[in-house]
Amino acid sequence: MASIGFNELFFLAQGLKWTLALTLIGFVGGGIFGLLVALARTAEITWLRRVTAGYIAIFQGTPLLMQLFVVYYGVALVGLNIDAWLAVAIAFTLHASAYLGEIWRGGIQAVPKGQTEAAKALGLHYASTIKDVILPQAFKISLPATIGFLVQLIKGTSLAAIVGFVELSRAGQIVSNQTFRPLTVFALVGLAYFLICWPLSLWGARTERRLQTAAR
């Protein structure tokens, strides 16, 4: 039975690096597309609202694991030979954009109607109304839910292991198989996840409390 030494810990740290990289990609990609989804969901154009509602329903109604499969093998079927990285990045972006889009739609709609009316009455156009008036307020309202989703996303990256990605969970599995110390290894892996997610959850809870007192 091998012991857990520097090499094993280094391997886990490499896995952690990929976990964080995947989260970052999902969050940045999902953030950009999620913003478009949120704007489409609150647009005045009916078909645009319907299409994005369908998009959100599909990605919220199916497991992330399945979405990863479909993108990974799906693109290969169309004849495109893409890197596992790109496939996973696309899948996480799609997944995150559906959730963030829906969270931010709620935030946008929670901004009082009078704000849009005041902007219109001043002659501001859509782009300025959204950028200068609505989004700053909507993001503040949505911040707790956004942080909550980020925590989910960090843990969700473990599913990328299924398409051959060696992120933190998969790294843990490999080290555990080599050292026959599953309990120790997965305790370490769990601790790593916890140390990343817990401060975020605390931050989310604190933001929520602060918003509640501000609204009172």
């Binding site: 005041a118 001043l122 002659g123 501001l124 300025s128 008036v133 503040k140």
Partner: protein
């Protein structure tokens, strides 16, 4: 009060009709507002007075008739709507200041974005109008740090920064504590003295007496009667006007 009105119509409503679904909110409304004229719109709640002024700057769409502002006929085209909104400022019952921006930023946003002014130019204009409503010393505060009266005066300044030809007031003092009503009304009286064209939806009959060239009474989406304040208050023609005035004056 100096006579600042001319014969030229700034705002004209012809046969305006509006429905919310099956509900007939405005019925064949005709009204002409000349440059410099001050109109007070009053009537019971649900009479369509707020709806009427919200149609003038296209916050609400009309289904019938025609609205013309400074020669531009209001249609669904973005160009017509922009042209009308450039000429007409609006003050809301609930202020609707942007809570994440300072009073100064509230005032400079539209001049910078719509008119393309530089920050310095916009701030010069903003300071002028904030001084006029006497809250220039609050310019760097956020709306929530101000009293209701100060917020509403800031909202008036924000609208004035676009240098509109006419101002619409939608019950500007209804959300205020009684002790703050006067400071807002005084600001509006000052504006009227300087010759601003104004349409005010308000229940402040003292203000109507002092400032209005014409008082327009609405009920159930129709204009029931209108006239100069002296005749309107002393000798109302319709039963509904008498009932309304009886109720509202009994409270004041």
């Amino acid at each position: 009060m100096p006579q600042t009105t001319t014969q030229e119509p700034l705002i004209a409503l012809n046969g305006v009709g509006k429905w919310y679904g099956a509900y007939h909110a405005l019925k064949n409304v005709n009204m002409t507002v000349r440059k410099g004229e001050k109109i007070v719109l009053c009537g019971p709640s649900g009479s369509g007075k707020s709806t009427l002024i919200r149609c003038i700057n296209h916050l609400e769409e009309i289904q019938e008739g025609k609205i013309t502002v400074e020669g531009t006929t209001l249609t669904d085209s973005a160009r017509a709507i922009d042209a009308v909104r450039r000429e007409v400022g609006m003050v809301f019952q609930s202020f609707n200041l942007f809570p994440h921006k300072t009073i100064m930023e509230n005032c400079t946003l539209a001049p910078m974005r719509v008119k393309g002014l530089s920050k310095a130019e916009a701030e010069t204009i903003a300071r002028k109008y904030l001084e006029r409503v006497r809250i220039v010393d609050q310019a760097d505060k956020y709306p929530a740090q101000l009293s209701g009266g100060q917020q509403q005066r800031a909202a008036i300044a924000r609208a004035l920064c676009m240098e509109p030809k006419a101002m619409l007031f939608d019950e500007p003092t209804s959300a205020l504590d009684p002790e703050m009503v006067k400071e807002v009304l005084d600001t509006m009286i000052g504006l009227a003295r300087d010759g601003m064209t104004m349409i005010c939806v308000t229940h402040e009959m003292g203000f109507a007496r002092q400032v209005a060239d014409r008082v327009v009474f609405m009920a159930s989406g129709e204009i029931i009667e209108e006239g100069p304040p002296e005749t309107f208050f002393r000798n109302p023609q319709h039963e509904r006007t008498r009932t309304f005035l009886g109720e509202i004056l009994a409270h004041h």
